[in-house]
């Protein structure tokens, strides 16, 4: 074929395709020129505070007051576990507000990337239950705290009342019941499972750091492992499996039982005779929070009665605002495993004792080995 011929056709014809490619490229360059780090050009969300939290807290129901003031929701960033969140923030990830739990509090404070919360700036602070404020490591001095408590609840057993035959009292033995081998589920995170193992093994929370405790807990976890169908961190999996009957009992938080009940699945959130594992989670402000004023608005909004009602009614979690409980009668609360007097629950259950980073690493390494069958 004649080359010049081809070249000619290339020049004369194909104009449209070339033009097309050209416009496509220029359009692409235009989009690429938008800096990646900047949000939408509308600019409005940029001014909002960023809340770094668990999935499920990124919903308008919890930010009614915030929305009224600012006309928009805060920005959300979601983590899968609070350890992962801390790792990311230590890696230089700046947010306004984050959402750890009591067992991590001293380590979060120690990381040096948070600032104390001036409680005088929170309109709902007066109604916050004092039992929840006086946590180990919170260093509450009357006018400032590290962590503003927000939600609290329990890690216990959700079981199918129609499929699981309880022998005697409800107990942690239910998750070690050989009759239901292969039909029991567990949370995968050591932050829950290891502590529940401690309760089962009869290790006091205050002694969980000892070598003896490690041995005892490891023994019960190894005993449980062949009975467990799956360890998972996503509660959806456990809930789906409970609803289908694939699992008859699983270690869960309050919300799983509440959600399944609202779907009409016959489940109950057990009150084990040894006591459940209780926890309190709350809000901390990053030391370099870019929108400090709005960070306080985020916290205030989460502490409001509106948010509290939603937390109790829809998720089955306790709330830190005592007024939130006034809408519910004692029977409803008891059904949810809650009480308007958190001291009842906290004293009846086992409260996690914060541990060092070394302990967390050691515990997680060991627990991973056990989960893998060693």
């Amino acid at each position: 074929m004649d080359i010049t011929d081809q070249l000619g056709s290339m020049r004369a014809g194909d104009m449209s395709r070339r033009a097309f490619t050209k416009s496509l490229l220029s359009a692409g360059v235009g989009v690429a020129a938008v800096p990646l780090a900047v949000r939408k050009a509308t600019a409005a969300p940029e001014d909002q505070a960023t809340f770094f939290t668990w999935g499920g807290y990124d919903i308008p129901e919890l930010f009614v007051p915030y929305n009224e003031t600012h006309g928009e929701l805060p920005n959300f960033s979601i983590f899968g576990g609070s350890e992962e969140a801390l790792t990311k923030m230590r890696g230089g990830f700046v947010v306004d507000v984050s959402h750890p739990c009591n067992s991590g509090l001293p380590r979060w404070v120690q990381s040096g990337i948070f600032q104390r919360i001036d409680t005088g700036r929170l309109s709902n602070w007066g109604d916050v239950m004092p039992e929840l404020v006086n946590l180990p490591g919170n260093e509450a001095d009357g006018s400032s705290v590290w962590l503003a408590p927000f939600d609290w609840g329990q890690t216990s057993i959700t079981y199918r009342t129609d499929m699981f035959e309880v022998e005697g009292e409800e107990s942690w033995d239910m998750l070690w019941d050989k009759r239901y081998s292969g039909r029991l589920g567990s949370l995968a995170s050591g932050g829950d499972a290891w502590w529940c193992g401690a309760i089962k093994a009869g290790v006091p929370m205050s002694e969980i750091h000892t070598d003896d405790a490690f041995d005892k807990i490891a023994a019960v976890m190894r005993e449980q492992r062949p009975l467990i169908r799956t360890y998972t961190d996503d509660t959806t999996t456990l809930e789906q499996a409970l609803s289908s009957g694939e699992l008859v009992a699983a270690m869960t938080w309050n919300s799983s039982a509440t959600l399944l009940q609202s779907e009409g699945v016959p489940v109950k959130f057990a009150k084990p005779k040894e006591g459940a594992l209780t926890w309190v989670c709350g809000l901390m402000i990053h030391k370099d929070a870019p929108n400090l004023d709005r960070a306080y608005d985020v916290i205030d909004s989460l502490l409001s009665v509106e948010s509290g009602k939603f937390m109790i009614n829809d998720y089955g979690y306790g709330h830190s605002n005592s007024k939130s409980f006034e809408q519910f009668d004692a029977e409803t609360l008891a059904g949810l495993g809650l009480s308007s007097n958190p001291a009842d629950i906290l004293e009846a259950g086992h409260f996690q004792v914060p541990q060092t980073q070394e302990w967390e690493t050691k515990m997680n390494t060991l627990f991973e080995e056990i989960k893998s069958g060693f």
Binding site: T4, K40, T236, S244, L259
Partner: protein
Amino acid sequence: MSVESYIRKPNRPLQLYAAIFLITLYLPVLFLPLFSFNDSLYVRFPLESFTVRWYVELFARDAVWNALWNSVRVGVAVALVSTTMGIFAAKAITRYRMPGKGPVVTFIMLPLVVPLIIFGVALLVLMSQLGVPLSLYTVAIGHMIVCLPFSIAVLIPRFEGFDASIEEASADLGENAWWTFWRVTLPMVGPGVLASLMLTFTVSFDEFILAFFLSGTQPTLPMYIWGQLRFPQEFPSVLALSSIIIVVSFVIVFLGQWINRGAISASTSGDAS
């Protein structure tokens, strides 16, 4: 001719196998759209009634749109940069005889066979040691490592199928280099470029493992989905979102492959003849 005849003869068992193969390939993926129209929080048979409410819910959610926008920006940036580098590299690989080309090409294609978790971990370590905060930029860098070999692999057949003497003729006719590239080379490899842009975009758009290690506050769409998996109330909306992503990916990739079909059929028929 005898071979032709035996090859031409339809092989029934093989045809059946091919049909079953394709069905198995597609069927699992098609269950996601099916359940996204199912009026139940839980994914199980029998199906309940038909509903579009999960889609409606999806559209009311800002976080989804932010994540989508993040993914699109990363995808477009990655597609443009990796395709640009890919054009140069593919041209060099096909046109010039260079010592050490073999090892160089192997090195470039390495990311296709190294487990992504290794790149994710290595880049995370690098960023944290340098004190670079994780952001969409870090995700984009990670994605480019994977997309560059894909882009080059898609472009090489295009350059192979195109007669270098045309470029030379253009130069002989007094066109300068940039002009030759713009008016001769680019139109010839245009379909390959388009295909590369589309493929690299989809790879980046759907990528999860690197984004898992490298994303900061702003989630990409797969990261957002991962975060939502833990919440049963969100699950049907995730199915709806997944269905949309699948349909969009299918359309983009199909178009991309179709536009570039000349290259592959040219190279394969060239081999056969």
